[in-house]
């Protein structure tokens, strides 16, 4: 299983039963042990939201202001914010950007998130992020995600091998992100935490600058 986990898709005999069974088992485990076994209480702390060692960091890693973005590769509004936000990060130069892959909109979001996070192990997370966010629309098929990554210069065999090798870590991170988002009461994507402000909308460049200014003023 290790070798092809990432693109394992509907395989009938057993898979269906299997997945259903593992879900059931998962649920039982959760009921039995409480969610705390899965998601430690610390995972929900601001410390983990801002400084999760596994979450990719962009912008200036030593910046004085944090922007945490929760996003999905099938979310059109998220895609709209990529360019304005990177323009603000570049011109400001003192903002630390924390990426929270939160795949909730479609099944292929999970696939995309896993590949993007696998690219982190090649130190190319942001390349993958841009490639995937650059695909038009919502409900992107997995094939198109693969093509976009290939076009961005990824060796797909290597990337998938990495995704499989680090699958356990990647899945844990996605679950942690999900727990954090739910802990914050988020309802969808995108959401940005800018300093102490939470913004649940697709800001344009001026909007980002305004919130950044407000956050610095309030600090």
């Amino acid at each position: 299983m290790q070798n092809h986990r990432i693109h394992r898709t509907a395989t009938p005999f057993a898979t269906a039963a299997w997945d259903r069974r593992s879900i059931l088992m998962g649920l039982t485990a959760l009921i039995g042990a409480g969610i705390a076994t899965r998601v430690g209480a610390d995972d929900l702390s601001a410390e983990m939201i801002l400084n999760d060692p596994d979450a990719p960091i962009g912008g200036n890693p030593n910046g004085d202001l944090n922007i945490v973005s929760f996003f999905d590769y099938n979310c059109p509004f998220c895609k709209r914010t990529v360019d304005p936000l990177s323009a603000v990060l570049a011109s400001d130069g003192n903002i630390r950007h924390i990426y929270k892959d939160w795949p909730i909109l479609a099944q292929s979001s999970v696939y995309g998130a896993k590949l993007a996070l696998a690219a982190k192990y090649q130190n190319r997370y942001e390349d993958a992020y841009r490639a995937l966010m650059g695909i038009e629309g919502s409900r992107i098929p997995e094939d198109r995600m693969r093509q976009a990554l290939q076009a961005a210069g990824f060796d797909m065999a290597q990337l998938e091998a990495d995704a499989n090798e680090y699958d356990a870590d990647i899945t844990t991170l996605l679950q942690r992100n999900n727990a954090q988002a739910e802990g914050l009461g988020l309802r969808g994507t995108p959401v940005f935490l800018v300093g102490q402000f939470l913004v649940a909308s697709a800001l344009d460049e001026a909007g980002f600058r305004q919130v950044v200014k407000d956050a610095r003023d309030a600090a």
């Binding site: 898709t9 009938p12 898979t15 299997w18 709209r80 099944q107 629309g137 899945t171 913004v199 909308s201």
Partner: protein, 607 residues
């Protein structure tokens, strides 16, 4: 450390602030259930209208509205009106959406339980995860919406896409397969009727044939009490138990995801059944009467004629026959197990399997009833008949043991059996000069059996293992027969695990690939390997194919993974990938394969 505590304080303050601001910021952001409110209504022409009231500033996607049959997972047609074309962003293309209100209709032919999925966004703000409600089309009751697509199982596959790693399976392995289509044609009754017919068609295949001697031997144990009526009762209970075992297969598959038949091909189960056969044979030879207390005999062999014991004995034999003695993977069996796995509808799947078992058993009932009438009843004949079936049981025991011991040992056992049978016929009895024709023929038959036994013994002693050609290995070196030349020219790559197989397929380089699942205990596989795979035309047809064999004799984790990933229920299964590593549609062969069907499948993959 004070600094740490301070940091902690600060960060928890942040969380509090975020949560506060989350509440504040999201105050104007509705919960998905509030933003999109769904009501259903039945219209005069029996169609069902679903109406979403959408809050101002929110929208639903037209192409994310979906209906699925909750039982089978198949898509259900949903009629929607055109929406407004909304450019979500100049850069990111338009999509068709509904503001304020969306309407979708289900046809009058919609299944009983439909899952409806919808997804929307607040304009320029956020997009909500998909929501799914269950609709009972009879009572029009709606469940609470379930949000998301199940992040609990982030690895689970996306629907409709069948690609795994470097290869793609054919569509027909998905979506409920054969049962799904039968269900669509004529409902559950049609599925069950069809499986009964499939069973009848399978009744004379190598899967069922071993059951004839076993059933006759079981009946012969009745001795003089055997009447047509009694034969009918016993063979019916045998067949019902066999059908029940098939149904049980379905339930176990739904519960554990495994094919029970394969799990039961363990040395212990086979050994136990072989021992049971030997015990039964011993009772036929009358050995128990000499050696065991009668209570034992009654319990173990159910000798008391007319007792309920022999009915349940026959039933037990039927159960064992289906699960352990003649485990056979056939296309309908595989279809039913796959259907159960895909839909978790164990009831229909198990009912179909029960019907399949019953169909396979109907000729057995006829055979048992008519045969019981034909069997001579009185006198010394009966003893002879019992001896004959004692040998049938011993033969069955050897045949079973053959799955777990080396072929030479099996051949030696056959030799022993033949020699013993020869003695029973009277090969060692003295033939007087005035003997009549009868005894002379018996003596001749006995000699023929002993000759066969001696040949088998020589074969076994010199390392042979094929009961059909016990001395075949002597000629193998010097060109031998045509079969042997053939055998050496059809070679297989053994694949023991999924990565092995992936590697072979990824190195296909435009060549088609033939994957053959087999096992030592698989009876039909033996026939296929001898009669089909050795055929000159097939050998020629397989030329240019990558040939991969997967041995399922020992069922372990890695084997099970391969079966799962390739949607294989058991051996024999043949899968054909074309040069692009796609399974050729309609090419898969499950169960018995003939030269004609194999050629046709090879042709499909070559294209």
């Amino acid at each position: 450390m004070p600094r740490q505590i301070f940091l902690r304080l600060i960060t928890s303050l942040f969380v509090a602030l975020w949560s506060l601001s989350a509440a504040a910021q999201q105050q104007d952001l509705l919960q998905a259930e509030e933003a999109f409110r769904l009501t259903v209504e039945r219209e005069t022409n029996d169609t069902i209208e679903m109406r979403w009231q959408i809050e101002d500033g929110y929208y639903l996607y037209r192409d994310h509205l979906e209906a699925k049959n909750r039982a089978t997972g198949e898509k259900v047609a949903l009629h929607t009106d055109p929406g407004i074309v909304e450019a979500e962003d100049a850069n990111f293309g338009p999509s068709e959406v509904y503001y304020l209100e969306a309407v979708a209709r289900l046809g009058a032919d919609a299944p009983g339980e439909v899952a409806i999925t919808y997804q929307g966004c607040k304009k320029d703000s956020i997009c909500y995860p998909p929501m799914t409600v269950a609709l009972d089309t009879g009572s029009l009751q709606l469940s609470e919406p379930v949000v998301g697509f199940g992040i609990a199982a982030p690895l689970s596959p996306s629907a409709g896409n069948t690609e795994i790693g470097g290869f793609t399976l054919a569509d027909e392995t998905q979506n409920g397969g054969m049962i799904g289509s039968l269900l669509a044609i004529g409902g559950a009754g049609w599925v069950i009727a069809s499986f009964l017919v499939f069973g009848l068609l399978l009744a004379f295949t190598p899967c069922v044939l071993p059951m004839y001697p076993i059933l006759s031997a079981t009946l012969a144990r009745e001795g003089e009490a055997l009447t047509a009526r009694r034969g009918f009762v016993l063979s019916t209970s045998y067949v019902l138990a066999m059908a029940a075992a098939f149904g049980l297969l379905g339930i176990v598959a739904a519960w554990s995801g495994q094919n029970l038949q394969m799990v039961l091909q363990s040395p212990y189960a086979i050994g136990a059944v072989s021992v049971l056969f030997v015990v039964l044979a011993a009772s036929m030879f009358g050995l128990f009467e000499l050696q065991l207390p009668s209570a034992w005999v009654n319990r173990m062999a159910g000798v008391t004629a007319g007792s309920r014991g022999s009915v349940s004995g026959a039933a037990g034999m039927g159960f064992l026959s289906a699960l352990i003695v003649g485990p056979c993977v056939t296309a309908p069996l595989a279809a039913a197990l796959l259907y159960i796995a895909q839909t978790s509808d164990a009831y229909l799947g198990a009912a179909a399997l029960f019907a399949l078992g019953l169909g396979q058993g109907i000729p057995l009932i006829a055979f048992g009833t008519i045969g019981s009438r034909a069997l001579p009843r009185a006198g010394a004949w009966m003893v002879q008949i019992k001896y004959v079936f004692g040998f049938v049981f011993l033969g069955a025991a050897i045949w079973m043991t053959g799955r777990i011991v080396p072929p030479q040992a099996t051949l030696a056992l056959w030799a022993l059996l033949l020699l013993t049978a020869a003695v029973f016929i009277g090969v060692a009895d003295r033939l007087t000069a005035e003997a009549a024709a009868g005894p002379r023929f018996r003596k001749a038959a006995g000699l023929a059996l002993s000759l066969a036994g001696v040949i088998f013994a020589i074969g076994a002693a010199s390392g042979g293992g094929d009961p059909l050609r016990p001395l075949g290995h002597f000629g193998a070196g010097s060109g031998g027969s045509q079969q042997h030349v053939a055998e050496t020219s059809t070679t297989f790559i053994e694949a023991g695990s999924m990565p092995d197989l992936m590697q072979v397929i990824s190195s296909a380089d435009g060549r088609p690939t033939f994957v053959y699942f087999t096992a030592d205990w698989c009876v039909i596989c033996k026939t296929i390997e001898r009669d089909v795979l050795q055929n000159a035309e097939i050998i020629a047809g397989l030329d240019g194919f990558q040939r991969v064999r997967v041995d399922l004799t020992a069922l372990d984790q890695t084997n099970q993974e391969m079966m799962r990933d390739l949607a294989v229920v058991g051996p024999p299964t043949m899968i054909f990938f074309d040069g692009d590593s796609k399974e050729a549609s309609g090419s898969r062969l499950i169960g018995d394969a003939t030269i004609a069907t194999l050629k046709a499948s090879l042709e499909l993959a070559r294209r």
